[in-house]
């Protein structure tokens, strides 16, 4: 790719970016949120046909004019904001653009069999007839990966493929990547997890504000330098250690909390009991399907009657949380993992998205107060490390990481008593991640009870005072901070039974 540029309206997002991909090489693309990584890759994938610059494939000038065209050129993509179709089954999604069959008539049996094989390859043990909307976020991410892998591409673009994946699934993916590399596929890999870059990338390029600031072979350059390239004059604040909670009075107590599956046949969360004190940050860790997300969803009231408990107490007062509204009234905040379906309102600006939760406080008589709202939005942007200019943008056009910041930030404005976060920093760059961690700690220090779930064992280990490890919906272990190394958490999460993911 040579001298690629791209504008959205008056904003120049890419400015003369050049990038070389070599067969049999993994090229890491790095940069802070909104640097232009996804945009660059989307140009390669034919999503935006109106760009400047040229693309050479095997020395021939090409111009992918649509995703279909890019596919025909042998370019496959794992998109950051997943591009699966929720109302179709896994099998249907895997072959959506080119169904198996004769003369356009679909052979479902063949599709199902082929799908089962592809799923097994990425380590997903799921019925291919399941609707994608029934899958958890990590499962969907794996299906997306499986779909791109199944296309036999010569160029494979992976835009944060592991943002919701935990240890074993990532290992599996890296094995597959190694295989592809050996077969001579050119790979582009985007991630904000630096350790992954070290593990699989051969070369790296750093983008900043739509320009290339540096490019190097991995291993020939210290990672500190890379981080400086990414963040520029600003440094990643050191991840400060949590202050030990001063008061240890019970803030959130949960007894025998269960969540039924939609058909009522299984318990996704099985009689979980725990207590979170004021000022405490408790991690929830489990492999995909262990039930961490469902636990948080259930506590937030989002699942209605599917979630039940013997007792839930907040500050020792028994409560019943039947809906997200009731949760909010009780000071319970919930940050969902899936920002596109549950987090953001597209079409509304980032500012309006950010103030949605606290709107009643900002409009006491119902009438909006734009100045107050603006102040609140700026405070939110500062909390999560979002550039203030981004506030005026349609939330749907924000970069993935910036979207995540809005989804998280809108809950932090009101100083919740109980904060439930699922993957709070999914796709957030390392600079902002540290700020967010600091903010969460500050909230806890101010007396909130915090529950954090996520696929990144490191993050959980770094953030939490102690970690509840979930296995098949049950709390399998309660690990104190000192023992909670990523490796230990993973080992506990996998238990004796073979992991599902």
């Amino acid at each position: 790719m040579e001298r690629i540029s791209k504008r959205f309206g008056r904003a120049t997002v890419l400015d003369g970016v050049s990038l070389d991909l070599h067969a049999g090489e993994v090229h890491a693309l790095l940069g802070e949120n909104g640097a232009g990584k996804s945009t660059l890759l989307k140009i390669l994938a034919g999503v935006y046909a109106d760009h400047g610059g040229s693309i050479l494939l095997d020395g021939k000038l090409v111009r992918p004019r649509s995703p279909a065209h890019a596919g025909a050129l042998g370019i496959a993509v794992i998109h950051q904001e997943l591009s699966l179709l929720p109302a179709l089954s896994i099998a249907e999604n895997l072959f959506v653009e080119r169904p198996l069959g004769w003369f356009g008539f679909i052979d479902r049996r063949r599709e199902r069999a082929r799908a089962a094989r592809i799923l097994a390859e990425v380590g997903l043990d799921l019925d291919p007839d399941l609707l994608v909307e029934r899958l958890s976020l990590p499962e969907r991410q794996l299906v997306e990966i499986a779909r791109a892998l199944g296309r036999g591409a010569r160029v494979l673009i992976m835009d944060e493929p592991t943002s919701a994946l935990a240890g074993p699934a990532i290992d599996r993916l890296f094995e597959l990547i190694a295989g592809l590399r050996a077969r001579g596929v050119a790979l582009v890999y985007v991630s904000h997890r630096m350790e992954e870059i070290e593990r699989i990338a051969d070369r790296l390029t750093v983008l900043r504000d739509g320009r290339v600031v540096g490019s190097a072979r991995v291993g020939e350059i210290p990672l500190d330098q890379v981080v400086t390239w990414m963040l520029g004059p600003r440094h990643a604040p050191a991840d400060v250690l949590p202050v030990s909670p001063s008061a240890r009075d019970e803030r959130l107590a949960v007894e025998d909390f269960s969540v039924d599956s939609v058909d009522g046949e299984r318990r996704l969360v099985d009689r979980a009991s725990f207590v979170v004190s004021a000022g405490e940050i408790v991690g929830l860790f489990g492999l995909s399907g262990a039930g961490a997300s469902e636990l948080l969803l259930g506590l937030s009231g989002a699942l209605g009657a599917r979630a039940r408990a013997r007792a839930v107490r907040i500050s020792s007062v028994p409560v019943r949380i039947g809906s997200p509204r009731e949760a909010r009234a009780l000071g319970v905040a919930f940050v969902p993992a899936d920002r596109t379906t549950m987090g953001l309102v597209p079409g509304m600006t980032a500012e309006h998205n950010g103030t949605l939760v606290v709107l009643p406080a900002l409009s006491p008589l119902g009438w909006l107060r734009p100045a107050r709202e603006r102040r609140a939005a700026l405070a939110m942007a500062a909390d999560v490390g979002l550039r203030p200019e981004a506030l005026a943008m349609d939330a749907a056009t924000l970069s993935g990481g910036n979207q995540q910041k809005v989804v998280l930030g809108k809950w932090l404005l009101e100083a919740p008593r109980v904060l439930l976060c699922d993957e709070p920093t999914r796709g957030v760059d390392i600079g902002a991640k540290a700020e967010i961690h600091a903010k969460i700690r500050a909230l806890a220090a101010a007396g909130a009870a915090v529950l954090v779930a996520g696929s990144d064992a490191r993050e959980i280990a770094a953030l939490a005072d102690h970690v509840l490890v979930l296995r098949r919906g049950r709390i399998a272990a309660d690990v104190a901070r000192a023992e909670a190394t990523p490796d230990a958490l993973l080992a506990l999460a996998m238990g004796h039974d073979e992991a599902r993911a």
């Binding site: 649509s66 890019a70 179709l85 179709l88 959506v96 653009e97 080119r98 008539f105």
Partner: protein, 341 residues
């Protein structure tokens, strides 16, 4: 529109093994509406009329023309669009079919072919405006609705195109009803089924198979489910949309021919407000106007539900004002019952 993401709310089997064909449960739900309406027929049989075969033949025959429109609308609605022009295209097609086969005396196959082609062109035109110019389907097809009605009136010269053909001297000349119209207006299978009902069922079968078993069908669901994701997945979004509207146009043309055959004339006012009924038939079964969810089974149940409701109120000779109120009330009860079944 009211659908909460199924992810959190709708019961559906997840357990592997059991196929998660989501449309099975909705089909059962849609049956609730139909059963409710049929129960009304049993309770108010209009002095036994409801139990006479003719009543059911009649119900089917009456529902057929609008049913054909509903079949055509299904692909459009699955793809997240809407087509308001079907009633007008029906009227235009009725006029043109009558002109061709009564006045010009063209053979049946040629008339049918020309009219269907015209319908496809109308649909493809709306579809192109939607796909290329990205005009909202409501606006694009509303424009086509008005345009096609005007064209129908222009073509027909403002009057019905009937077997009384005005000569150049203004004197009427009476001609035969063309064989095409007679064939379509006949009862077949020993007088037990109307030919138009067969046409309706054939079209339903074809469109149903395309939606459920053909690549185009999958594209329709994909585009309606999430257009952007579909595009990213390499689905030819524009072609899919244009084809969907073209199918709708062809079906509207077929419905127009059937209408003309049954009326034995081409009425430029034919099909006014049919689009509302046809859309209602598609969505009452549970196919979502948001796109991406639904199917031919649901549509057929919707056609029957509305067709029978109409017939039952009619054989009971319910007066106009009460009939309207009852229709509204029953539709709501059926829809609510279906959601909570």
């Amino acid at each position: 529109m009211s659908e909460t993401p199924q992810h959190l709310e709708t019961p559906a089997p997840r357990s592997p093994g059991k196929p998660a064909a989501w449309h099975h449960a909705p089909l059962a739900r849609a049956l609730v509406s139909l059963a409710l309406v049929l129960a009304l027929g049993v309770i108010f049989p209009a002095e036994g009329a409801f139990f006479r075969l003719g009543t059911h033949q009649g119900a089917l025959r009456q529902a057929s023309v609008v049913g054909i429109l509903a079949c055509g609308l299904l692909p459009v609605i699955l793809a997240g669009g809407i087509d308001l022009s079907v009633g007008s295209v029906l009227g235009l097609s009725a006029v043109v079919a009558a002109k061709l086969s009564i006045h010009a005396g063209e053979p049946a196959w040629l008339s049918v072919l020309l009219v269907l082609g015209m319908g496809a062109a109308c649909g493809a035109a709306s579809g192109s405006v939607v796909a290329f110019a990205r005009v909202q389907p409501f606006v694009a097809t509303l424009a086509m609705m008005v345009f096609a009605r005007g064209l129908a009136k222009t073509t027909s010269g403002g009057t019905k195109v009937a077997t009384a053909v005005p000569g150049p001297d203004g004197v009427l000349r009476y001609v035969q009803v063309p064989p095409l119209f007679r064939a379509l207006d006949a009862q077949v299978f020993g007088g037990n089924v109307a030919a138009v009902t067969l046409v309706f069922l054939a079209i339903a079968a074809i469109v149903g198979v395309v939606c459920a078993r053909h690549r185009l069908g999958r594209y329709l669901y994909a585009v309606g489910g999430n257009e952007e994701a579909a595009r990213l997945s390499g689905v030819p979004v524009r072609a899919t949309k244009i084809l969907a509207y073209a199918i709708s146009g062809v079906c509207a043309a077929a419905a127009g021919i059937c209408q003309a055959a049954q009326e034995q004339q081409g009425d430029p006012e034919a099909g006014v407000t049919y689009e509302l009924t046809a859309i209602a038939m598609v969505v009452i079964g549970g196919t979502s106007l948001k796109g991406g969810r639904g199917g031919m089974g649901l549509t057929l149940l919707g056609v029957l539900t509305i067709g029978y409701l109409d017939k039952i109120l009619s054989i009971n000779a319910v007066p106009e004002a009460s009939r309207l109120m009852l229709t509204g009330a029953i539709v709501i009860v059926a829809a609510v019952a279906q959601k909570n079944a």
